[in-house]
Amino acid sequence: MRKKSLIACALILLVLLPLVVKNPYILHLVIYTCMYSVLGMSFSMMWKNRLITAGTAGFWAVGGYTSALLVTKLAVPFWLAMPAGGVASALFALFIFSIALRGGPLVFFSVSLVSAFIVMEVLGTVSFFGGWEGLLDIPGPRIGPYLFFTKTSFYYMVLAILVLNILAFHALYTSRIGRAWTAIGSSTRLAEVQGVNIYRYRLAASVIGCFWAGVIGSFYAHYQNLLIPTTFSFLCSIYVQMYALIGGLNYFIAGPIVGSFVMVFLPELLRAGQEYQPIFFGALLILIIIFLPGGLLSIGERLPWLGRLGGRIGRRLRLVSTKS
């Protein structure tokens, strides 16, 4: 119950946030945090099955371009285009991964990377998709008579998507499906012996994960009003992995959120030059992998250890009585 009230409080705070934060740039960063959280959770869902996707950006792009093209070329209303973006991404994932998964996790990993790369190449070279200059003048979302154009309105929209996403993933993770995924994640052999069809469950996880990547891609397209293929480069997929890892890979929902938050805001605090950012990220990532492989959230798990260490140092310094 305590957890539930905590979550309710957090939600109320998030809803009230635009009343407090008036700076549109900060709100923009919060919107990016939410977006990357959704992407990170999509990655986590596959990671729960010990599948590593290096192609999140590709599926993000598929969703974004599908939705943008539907709206601009076919004048489909936005609220239909957004799920369509998700479905397109999911179908693409179904097609690619139903084949790739036959080869096991490493082939899945490589194929996801290669297919994301190809998606970027195709989007850049085919003029129908706008070429390397990008797809411009994507209209903002319009639901009924309401036109989204302020940062606040976009913030509420992405918050709604994020909350829906969390609810859906939570429902999945606590059901039998989620338990089967956990089983596959901890031991494929034992999971198989207990009757889990590994191929099918892994495929389901990757398709569902890619669906949400597509949905948030659609949001991104209409929020930015333009799509440039190089946004969806290999580096972007890697960033998503970094966010999930930095938050904590064993926290399938909270990990990506915490990781995205830290990694979106930290560079802003450092005010590092744009081109030095990847170097900084890379170095930070290596340090975290070596010294805190469980991610930031695992600090909590390590607290008893820190406490013991503190006690030992305290005794050494005679700050704590050794007799008690």
Partner: protein, 254 residues
């Protein structure tokens, strides 16, 4: 008719035959001991029966229905459960969750119900949780049900392995060295549990190096050496069998 029929079964790795031309019948509600020196092909046989390997030749049939060539999860659904030689558990889950996960195939409610957590899905969930608690009670792990599996002592991990296998509600249970790492008291209780499982109608094949335990447990023994069956019969017959003694102690030099 036999519950499990193994006919002319061979399993080659490269040029090496880990199991060769094996014929074996396992009857309903018996405990069959499978013994033999290290590398005799016992674990390989288990891996073939449970579907991790597709046999090079021959077949395995459960109740007259061919199961060899199916995937491990399909074979599990036909009613064959197993444990592993090295302890394999869902290490980062609690003991209770381990067993609940084991119930994977017993769910009947649809995926949509599962996703939406409807009433029927919840009822089913509760029923399964009760079942899981009963299994833990039966195997004597109730007190530890909230521990993480990785924190259990080794003997308890072995027991938990059996619990997880039982959760799948198998007709035939393959136990791969279930007594390794147990102290004498634990061994005795586990043997008792295995006997009770048999009384409940579960057929059991057991691979075990603890001969005293095997002799007290099994009605029938099969001895493998170099992948071939060298003896089969009642415990007393096996004890005096020349070929078996040779296999274990090596040929006496004359």
């Amino acid at each position: 008719m036999a519950l499990l029929e193994i006919r002319n079964l061979s399993q080659h790795f490269g040029g090496v035959a880990a199991v060769s031309r094996l014929d074996l019948d396992i009857f309903d509600s018996e405990i069959l001991g499978l013994i033999g020196p290290n590398g005799a092909g016992k674990t390989t046989l288990f891996n073939v029966i449970s579907g991790f390997y597709t046999p090079s030749t021959g077949s395995v049939a459960l109740k007259g229905e061919r199961v060899s060539g199916l995937r491990p999860d399909e074979i599990a659904k036909k009613g064959i459960g197993r444990t592993f030689q090295q302890t394999v558990l869902f290490m980062r889950s609690s003991v209770f969750d381990n067993v609940v996960t084991g119930f994977h195939m017993n769910y009947t409610s649809g995926l949509m119900n599962q996703f939406l957590h409807t009433r029927s899905a919840k009822d089913e969930e509760n029923g399964i949780k009760k079942e899981a608690a009963r299994i833990l009670e039966f195997m004597g792990l109730s007190a530890l049900k909230d521990e993480l599996a990785q924190n259990l002592p080794h003997g308890h991990q072995r027991t938990l392995g059996i619990c997880v296998a039982l959760a799948a509600n198998p007709q035939l249970l393959l136990l791969d060295e279930p007594l390794t790492g147990m102290n004498p008291t634990e061994t005795l209780t586990t043997l008792d549990h295995i006997r009770q499982l048999k009384d409940r109608g579960i057929t059991i094949i057991i691979v075990e190096h603890n001969m005293k335990a095997v002799m007290s447990l099994c009605e029938r023994l099969v001895v493998l050496n170099h992948g071939e069956k060298i003896a089969e019969g009642k415990c007393e017959e096996i004890q005096d069998n020349k070929a078996v003694i040779e296999a274990y102690l090596g040929k006496e030099r004359r």
